[in-house]
Assembly symmetry: C2
Homo-oligomer: 291 residues x 2
């Protein structure tokens, strides 16, 4: 590995560590230790079981226990035995705890806002940050079949439409092109697969079927920040597996040569070019794969 690359990484770490230190300092101004604040935050994020908290925060049983007692004494949380296993305990924020949690959230938001406000071209900076976020959190990326009308799917589809419009220099309207297909991209006819990192949509692909052995792959998209990580292949694999499970034996798709990354992926994954099978104006490449 190049020493110059290592230096660049270390410069990055140093620059960001300063920002992170500043955020943690701002947390201390609420008269509570960083440990307590972190536990409160984790509970607010939904880690309510004591065992989940322990795993998430990587804390010793004794230490966590004492931090919980402290928050309890402050009236911020309540802990009760879990109904189905009374050895385990579940914590819940009291109304006061919720307020306090929200204050910390607001502090984090303000901090983020202040840093971003210093920059004229926020989009450019955030695009770079997204690339780093996705790369560093690669292990947490989740691939799942979701409903075509779910919020995550909608986010993906809107981003897909925006990118298609930009790259093909046209106005791609999901309403016109998408809604009629809704039931065909849902079980049992078809499916819709999404890759995401938390609430952040990273990619999608739909399988549009009609109950027969032939189905169509549509809406294949990878977020710019998530490219070059091999997600496209994983997403397509997941879609092909889902199609097989729906007794589909042949998949086909149409695309445009402008979307060269996608076309090259399809080729690498064993798709072959076939004759035009529709008269849509925008696609100029048609492909097929037998499962």
């Amino acid at each position: 590995m190049d020493q110059d690359q290592i230096t660049r990484f270390r410069n990055f770490s140093r620059a960001v560590a300063i920002e992170i230190g500043a955020l943690e300092d701002s947390f201390l101004n609420r008269g509570r230790s960083l440990g307590s604040a972190r536990v409160l935050n984790a509970i607010g994020l939904g880690y309510e079981d004591v065992s989940d908290l322990r795993a998430f925060l990587d804390l010793d049983t004794g230490l966590l226990s004492r931090l919980l007692r402290g928050l309890e004494a402050e009236g911020l949380i309540e802990t009760n035995p879990k109904p189905d296993d009374r050895r385990s305990r579940v914590t819940t924020l009291t109304p006061m705890g919720v307020r306090e949690f929200e204050i910390y959230e607001a502090l984090s938001d303000q901090r983020a806002e202040r840093v971003l406000a210093r920059h004229a071209d926020v989009r450019h900076l955030l695009d770079a940050m997204d690339v780093v976020t996705v790369a560093l959190s690669r292990e947490d990326i989740v691939f799942e079949e979701v409903d075509y009308s779910s919020e995550l799917a909608t986010k993906c589809l809107n981003a897909f439409a925006a990118e298609l419009s930009r790259r093909l220099n046209l106005i791609f309207d999901l309403k016109k092109s998408g809604d009629p297909e809704l039931s065909q991209m849902q079980h049992p006819h078809g499916t819709f697969v999404v890759a995401s990192l938390g609430a952040m949509p990273l990619g999608c692909v739909g399988v549009k079927g009609n109950g027969g052995p032939l189905a169509e792959v549509k809406r294949m998209w990878i977020a710019p920040a998530a490219r070059r990580l091999g997600l496209g292949r994983r997403l397509m694999t997941k879609a092909e597996d889902a199609a097989r499970a729906l007794s589909i034996t042949t998949l086909r798709l149409d695309t445009n040569s402008t979307l060269f990354e996608a076309v090259s992926l399809y080729k690498r994954m064993g798709w072959t070019e076939i004759e035009r099978f529709n008269d849509d104006p925008y696609p100029d490449i048609f492909m097929e794969k037998h499962l």
Copy 2:
């Protein structure tokens, strides 16, 4: 400010905080507290005066003093009164201290290497990290006149040549085009201005003069990671100021329309287009500015 942007920033912070925490943990394996390790590191980086250390690490006098005594007791540093002000004290690493410092450096390097090794497309990730580093450390960017043959200048020039070759689709050879001009880009004829962040070159521009009132601006370059921050304008302003100080009254330059960001900057800064004044093959735009 958009809530979505804030969320993206916060996701970024979280992802990176985990990496940074892991690095600090690896420091603890050497049987020394993080505080001591940080002080040793700072001394190794060149913060030798006790007051500099205090400012850099933001430590209380008492705490720093005790950490220094600890390192002294380990035989890693020596502290002596400063000759010109015997109240102040200067620390120096002993040979053993140097070795220990280098071990920490190696740990950081290994950590960086391990993280980067997990990524197929390291260049892409590092480019994004550079954008973040530069944006977050904007206040530390330094503009200075340097010798045209200095290391920093050479780094800039090589990057400049590489980018020119790429964007104009030719092989731009500094050796042929640069070396004959060396003395003309040095005082008293001309100058060479560099923008940098530590050892990281962010941009450059040369003023090539011959002692007369007319000089030429050449080698204007801004690192990709440093774009959209307004550095080009600051760099050009610095170059124009330096030219004035050298009694230059008119600057001119040639460039290529492919380098549209530069051309638009020159126009915004009051440069006007003039007739071709040389017969070089690559430039197609010629400009002038009276100081």
